[in-house]
Symmetry: C2
Subunit: 260 residues, 2 copies
Amino acid sequence: MTFADASAVTPRGSGRWSARIAPGWDIVGAANGGYLLAMTARAAALAAGRPDPVTVTAHYLAPGSPGEVGVDTEVVKAGKRFTTVTATLAADRPLLRMLGSFGDLEASVGMERLEAGPPDLPPVEDCIPIEPTETFPPPFMGRVELRLPPERAAAWGGAGSPGVEGWFRLRGGEPLDTIALLVAVDAFPPTIFFTDLPVAWVPTLELTAHVRARPAQGWLRCSFTTKFITGGFLEEDGEVWDSEGRLVAQSRQLALVPRG
Amino acid sequence: MTFADASAVTPRGSGRWSARIAPGWDIVGAANGGYLLAMTARAAALAAGRPDPVTVTAHYLAPGSPGEVGVDTEVVKAGKRFTTVTATLAADRPLLRMLGSFGDLEASVGMERLEAGPPDLPPVEDCIPIEPTETFPPPFMGRVELRLPPERAAAWGGAGSPGVEGWFRLRGGEPLDTIALLVAVDAFPPTIFFTDLPVAWVPTLELTAHVRARPAQGWLRCSFTTKFITGGFLEEDGEVWDSEGRLVAQSRQLALVPRG
């Protein structure tokens, strides 16, 4: 099943959509947060009548499992350039709440000044694929394709700084739209897994993604870093660059660091 | 008038609060975004029954002017550790929409690993105060106290990278709570003003703040950086450190870069 199918939404009238959490998009039983956000944003973009999630924030309320879900949307404001929408994704209970502003990035122009470029990665074919097995890593890795630089793959559980970078595409190179970027920003293993800190999972409390441009097709270069693990929280900052070397998305999530 | 008074909210029942945008909290006629978010978060924290805005996102819909406003809140989910609330601040029309998760940071503990420390600033008394005059800078600067390192103050309109850092406190050293941190993250002049780019204003589309801990009293060290000006947008990432050297807040905003 493609991502387009797995994140499809069907209108039910009055700002309501139905959808289905597809099997295999989970991490240890809970549907991937980027996937749930993408599905919600797809309905919200339709409610907005504007295709691109310029800035969307999700607060995660409960884990999602495969099956029927609904997305209830409310247009907060339809402005000249952006339409702000709030939406709730729910099964038998609310799974996430989203607030986002949608626009049209077709003619995305303006002054350019970049203080940094895309991460320096070995060619895709020299990187290590993360392919799911019966037990490891999670089924979700069968829906996307990740390639980690050999050095990064070797740093798993090592004594390095929290961070990860690599190549991303949807399985089989399925075409990318701006909604798919919401999957890219939450697809990589947590940065903290590349340290020696004894943490088995870092549930996301909140994820915000900014989409700067529509992606060119092909592999995306992604990087994720964490500067501050403190107070029971960590942030994870993501950057996503397309195959033409353009920054297409930025993200930050706040995750919980369970008390060890 | 203190910040506490200027951001006070009065319950009106059924999740509704009234408040007043105080005079003098504006930047060229529009009330400061951090101040509006703080007022909204104050009502939302009361609705949540939890004092600390762990992660709050505001989408700005229209500029605010002095006068009566209302805050309508809706509790999205009351969980074990966090309560998620959405709120709308409105005058004759909606000014901002907020989505946030509130908690109690009294006993904020957990593993600690920091990849960076607070910005290196000269002592407060060696820094340059930004004090409002009739024409420059904006009235808002009379409500807070900012001190910029001499080198940074001299870089205004210069050829440097987009960024600014300095000391912050509420006027007269009024005590700080976690709500006041929402003002700190939006109080400094835009990073782009310290470059030679011809931009007179950068309206905020969205601001997200994460609060990691309750601040110790005293001056806060703040820094703001921008890596990517592209596609008509820029991000501004903030860090706020308290007088005991603890990271108390992180922020990111997405602002528009008007076509020059």
